[in-house]
């Protein structure tokens, strides 16, 4: 579990790449020791810019941030000495995988014997044995990505920034890396993680910040986001006996009045009269009402199922809401009302 120590805090952090054109704006978010914070968003949402700002690769044009107590404007080397950064772009040296690892250890001033031992550990952990003697250009896309994550783990750090580290990886390699990162987080490593693979974020992240056109539109646990933003979900109810025609018609009217959309069976002939299915935005809130309605009419319910809320449906819901609200890049000087509380979000965001 994340501790209460705050290791990173941003205050209205922003970066404009041209006058009035913001890649990120009004970002206020925090990270605790041992916490994994996910940054989600469409392409161009500002995830990579945020990572670059927090790792001092870009200077903020407004607002600020402290990372491990250092101001990102002035922390420089002292700050970066505590960070690990896996960039979105491939960064490679033209020597073998094994040599790349030890050379990177050398750059980080890791004693030679320690670097050799860690390189072996990383080669095994990231399944790079077959690639050990190969040069980067001879590696597959997945191997290069695994290598890049492995290389960053050659040195010690307090915060690890991972910008889409699992792009191009197969499911097994991805799961292995995520599990390893989760273990490291349990050991106290704080992680900032960007991805487009939403179930990864669901699996790994303690909290998730959703960015859209440079704005933070939500910050919560995965569960919190799912329950608040999942949109319409499907509910299927099977009664103990066939519903009489007028009763069924009444149920349809009542459900429709509560915002549900009845799902008509594709094949009218096979319509089961003991079953009804519908979609509703807050489907879970309709279930208690439905139970009471059936109970009042002495109708037994055999089975009631609700489609599982996924982070993907929540994400799509959030982006849809933001686009409907016309939250455009660079437009606003107004502060977004977007910092949701959930879990730890309240105190920090």
């Amino acid at each position: 579990m994340p501790s209460d120590d705050v290791v990173l805090e941003t205050h209205d952090l922003g970066y404009s790449y041209a006058p009035g054109r913001f890649a990120i704006r009004h970002l206020s978010v925090g990270l605790h020791r041992g916490e994994v914070l996910g940054l989600l968003g469409r392409n161009g949402a500002g995830k990579t810019t945020t990572v670059r700002l927090l790792t001092t690769l870009l200077p903020p044009t407004e607002g600020g941030a402290t990372v491990l107590g250092y101001d990102i404007r002035t922390g420089g080397r002292a700050l970066r000495s505590h960070l690990g950064v896996v960039l979105q772009s491939e960064s490679l040296d033209f020597v073998s995988v094994e040599r790349n690892l030890t050379l990177y250890g050398f750059l980080w001033n890791i004693p030679r014997e320690v670097a050799k031992a860690r390189a072996e550990e990383m080669i095994e952990l990231f399944e790079l044995e077959g690639a050990r003697k190969r040069k980067p250009w001879a590696l597959s896309g997945g191997e290069r990505r695994r290598f890049q994550v492995a290389r960053e783990l050659m040195h010690d750090m307090d915060i690890l920034f991972l910008d889409e580290p699992t792009v191009g990886l197969d499911a097994i390699a991805r799961r292995r890396i995520l599990r390893y990162l989760k273990d490291r987080a349990r050991g106290g490593l704080s992680i900032v993680f960007t991805t487009h693979i939403l179930h990864e974020a669901d699996m790994l992240c303690d909290r998730i910040a959703v960015l859209h056109l440079g704005r933070l539109i939500a910050l919560d646990t995965a569960q919190g986001l799912k329950s608040k933003h999942s949109g319409a979900r499907e509910v299927a109810v099977t009664f103990a006996a066939a519903l009489p025609g007028p009763v069924r018609a009444e149920l349809v009217v009542e459900l429709t009045a509560r915002g549900a959309t009845i799902i008509e069976p594709e094949d009218a002939v096979s319509t089961a009269l003991d079953r009804i299915a519908f979609r509703a935005a807050r489907a879970e809130e309709l279930l208690p009402w439905l139970s009471q309605w059936a109970h009042a009419r002495s109708l037994g319910i055999d089975r009631m199922s609700i489609e599982e809320a996924t982070l993907e449906s929540a994400f799509l819901g959030m982006i849809g809401e933001a686009e409907d609200a016309g939250d455009g890049r660079g437009k606003g000087s107004e502060r977004p009302e977007n910092v949701l509380s959930g879990g730890r979000a309240g105190g920090l965001a």
Binding site: R77, L87, S89, E90, D93, F94, F106
Partner: protein
């Protein structure tokens, strides 16, 4: 043992980017030039044109001076490849300053040039014997090559910072290399018969000042004009290094091709 960041970067520059084939070509090319051109043209080119020395004896100091380009090209290419493969960004995200990375590149260039000087002198030894180099002469050679390699490293890094295409960078680098070497006194001297325009262009070229100074050091005839040459080289090196440093501070770390 903990090495300072600049030294770690220099070691990394050598270890990661300089494969044996590159090293052989970089040093082999001027070495072969001394042997082949020196042997071929010594009998054709009159020693009166080359100030009384054989053409090989004239060529060796020229090839020594040429090492400043070799070193400059090495660090220019290193930087380009680091940018292309995002290692600049990766290094900057670690415990290094931009100034250290730049200094590491320039010092790599310098070391490469100085190693090249040694190799060229060794290659020239069987042809011209041990040159009458005084301590001051050795110092003049080393300072000249050092300033020249800083000049070319700074120039190529500054050019590399302005370009986003590998084709453009390597085309300019090749053209520049060819232009600089053939419009200098590396292969042939400026004489009374040299067309005025050409002679003027020769003396706009820093390699000419380097080649002349090294030649004077080799022949033991260093004089006040060499001090002026060194001053010009120092000024030019300061300008290009300053330009590279200025552009470095504003460098866009975005992807290039």
């Amino acid at each position: 043992m903990s090495l300072p960041p600049i030294l770690r970067l220099i070691v990394r520059n050598f270890a990661s980017n300089l494969d044996p084939l590159t090293i052989i070509i970089r040093f082999g090319q001027p070495a072969v030039t001394i042997i082949v051109l020196g042997t071929m043209f010594s009998s054709i080119i009159s020693s009166s044109v080359t100030g009384g020395a054989s053409y090989t004896a004239f060529l060796v100091p020229g090839m020594v001076a040429f090492q400043m380009i070799t070193g400059g090209v090495v660090s220019g290419n290193l930087f380009w490849l680091d940018r292309r493969w995002s290692m600049v960004e990766q290094v900057f995200s670690g415990p290094f300053l931009r100034a250290e990375y730049l200094a590491g590149l320039v010092l790599t260039s310098l070391l490469f040039s100085l190693v090249g000087v040694g190799i060229m002198m060794l290659v020239g030894l069987p042809f011209i014997g041990i040159p009458p180099l005084s301590a001051l002469g050795v110092l003049a050679v080393l300072v000249t090559v050092a300033l020249g390699s800083v000049f070319f490293a700074g120039l190529l890094i500054a050019i590399g910072l302005q370009l986003r295409s590998a084709n453009a960078y390597f085309s300019i680098q090749s053209f520049l290399q060819l232009f600089v070497i053939f419009l200098s006194t590396v292969y042939y001297p400026v004489t009374s018969k040299t067309p005025k325009v050409l002679a003027t262009i020769f003396y706009l070229n820093p390699l000419t000042y380097a080649a002349d100074t090294i030649r004077d050091a080799f022949s033991g005839t260093l004089g006040p004009s060499d001090l002026v040459s060194l001053g010009i080289l120092a000024l030019l090196a300061t300008v290009t290094f300053g330009a590279a440093a200025w552009a470095f501070r504003r460098m866009d770390l975005g992807p290039i091709q």
